[in-house]
Amino acid sequence: MRCRLAILGLTGPAYLWLLVAVFLPLTAMLYFSVLSETPLGNREPVLTGEHYRAFLEKSVYRDLLWRSLGIGLEVTAFCALIGFPAALALSRAVPGRWREVVFLLVVLPFWSNGLVRTFSWTMVLGAGGVLDRGLQALWPDAPEVDLLFTRQAVVIGLVHAYLPYMILSCYLALQAVDDSLILAARGLGASHWTVFRRLWLPLGLPGLVAGSVLIFVPVIGAFMEPRILGGPAGTVIGTVIEDQFTQTFNWPLGAALSFILLAVVLLILLLAYPLRQRLERVT
């Protein structure tokens, strides 16, 4: 009895928090998504499925969802390409006490406000920005580099924002690998490439998958980075949803689009699950 009370007392706050901070708002939004009007003030909304129908009927939402998924894949791929080797280097090549310093550098982006971080990129990427001037200094005849307000700028900003997730989750998987495994492989004549392909990659896969999910899901709903760095190229499903809340007070349509996004994410994760299992079996 005492033990059960203790468990309840210890886990209760966490569940209460989940209920209040996640479950209740989500339920409210789900309810909003089937209303004809935002139920605030003295409006009288009725139940309707028109907002979900709008997604099926208007190609603009589908096109922008595709665009967001494309950006999500691109950002996740770049994070994996940079993050996995970085985590490998961090877990194997960096000596113990330096590791903490490097770790600090990795999580540094988390310490700064997201808006500040994103606005800093506008100073780096634009014509006459840090990147442009740096390149001109090294190579005077270099063509002007002006990446600001392009799709590339959005991808760069998002990769910078989410890369730590990939490094940290890959690091956790890789640092658990037993050194003797690698020594054995090398001793049996495996090349560095073979060791990477047959040992590091499969053993680090859980971290890679976890990192990809952690990145892909928020990136396809991102709206702040696309808006600031993308300019006219920054219209994505996230900004469309935001506009429903800020520009027209059409919360029901915004909520419906959010839930469609959520459904698509869940579907992708569901489809990826057997793929991941097969992958693990093969390797």
């Binding site: 605030l40 003030g41 603009v60 096109d63 006219p232 800020t246 027209t248 007070f249």
Partner: protein
């Protein structure tokens, strides 16, 4: 166990008591950031006279302002509402009638604005006309000669990738309607407007959403020409010393005027009236326009006190110029949703 509970309870009671003390005499204002009411000298002057702290909250769009009123009843004392939204705020029961007898400067206000039907409902006054202006565009005079005079110029090849555009569905539709010679308050051919806006794609360098952002982009040379508000243009010139000129195009411009209102459950309606009276008076306005830059005043006395070459007297006081303005009418929700849909189709087309 009991003692822990008691201690917790005592702590909670203490917190509540502290909270009660902290909420003494504050006047909460909801407005755009940097839009007059939050000038430090104005806040100080009012605080000194009335012994009340003026606290500000800001919104980035009219919809956000309405949402804040809907979701925070009993929080705000004074709110700035664009006249095309006043009727909606009244019908949703968000604002209360004003008492003109408590506004000593009320009689000085320009009659056409003061008694405008947009600010009234059921014979009651719901907004005190404060300032008015135009939405068109401003150009960087160092980069652009000669200064364009038409809306059509926004589509000129000269400004390819050099145009800043406000990311706002209603404003976009209305500017395109004016350029096409349609009635901006009830455009007849939305397809033509959509096509015209899509044609703007290659022109647009980036979208802006706040005055602050506009100033930063213009200062950094991100654009040569950008849609803008006349009052903000005055501020950008004076307070930020940007080399810009505001143009009221030949085809016309969007006219608007802003009123000051009091939300339904305002904690301090008396003080709110006093603050509004201070804001619509000439002393506040003249200092705001000469030191910082402001839209044109609804107070005729205030306009007469401006220097003769002031933009708000020389240009905005000229009937030939103001004749080109079409004042924004209230827009029903349905049509606003249609505009946003159209604007999103445009943005999605531009992106491809």
């Amino acid at each position: 166990m009991i003692s822990t509970m008691q201690r917790l309870g005592a702590g909670l009671a203490l917190l509540l008591a502290l909270g009660g003390v902290a909420t003494a005499q504050q006047l909460r204002v909801l407005n755009w950031q940097g839009y007059g009411t939050d000038e430090p000298w104005a806040v100080e002057a009012f605080a000194e006279e009335h012994g009340v702290e003026v606290v500000h909250d800001y919104f980035n769009s009219e919809q956000e302002m309405l949402t804040r009123l809907r979701t925070n009843p009993g929080v705000y004392d004074v709110v700035l509402i664009n006249s095309s939204y006043t009727q909606q705020a009244v019908s949703e029961g968000l604002i209360q009638p004003l008492n003109p007898d408590q506004l000593s400067h009320f009689e000085q206000l320009d009659q056409s604005l003061r008694d405008h039907p947009y600010l009234r409902a059921d014979g009651e006054l719901y907004g005190a006309a404060w300032v008015w202006g135009a939405t068109a565009y401003a150009v960087n005079v160092n980069e652009v000669t000669p200064i364009p005079t038409t809306l059509e110029a926004l589509w000129a090849p000269r400004f390819s990738d050099r145009l800043g555009w406000r990311d706002d569905a209603v404003e976009s539709v209305q500017l395109a309607a004016l350029a096409l010679g349609q009635d901006m308050n009830s455009p007849t051919d939305l397809d033509a407007i959509k096509a015209r806006l899509i044609a703007l794609g290659p022109q647009i360098r980036t979208f802006w959403s706040s005055e602050d952002q506009w100033n930063k982009y213009m200062a950094a040379g991100r654009f040569d020409i950008a849609t803008y508000w006349s009052g903000s243009a005055a501020r950008s010139r004076k307070a930020f010393e940007l080399p810009i000129r505001f143009v009221i195009p030949e085809e016309g411009a969007i006219g608007w005027f802003d009123g000051l209102s009091i939300p339904v459950d305002a904690p301090n309606p008396e003080l709110a009236h006093a603050f509004i009276d201070y804001l619509i008076g000439p002393a506040f306005y003249v200092r705001w326009d000469t030191e910082v830059g402001a839209p044109a005043p609804a107070n005729r006395g205030a306009m007469a006190e401006l220097p003769e070459d002031a933009f708000n007297r020389a240009v905005m006081g000229d009937p030939a110029v103001t004749g080109r303005l079409t004042f924004m009418a209230p827009i029903p929700d349905q049509r606003r949703n249609r505009y946003l849909e159209l604007w999103q189709e445009v943005k999605a087309a531009i992106v491809q």
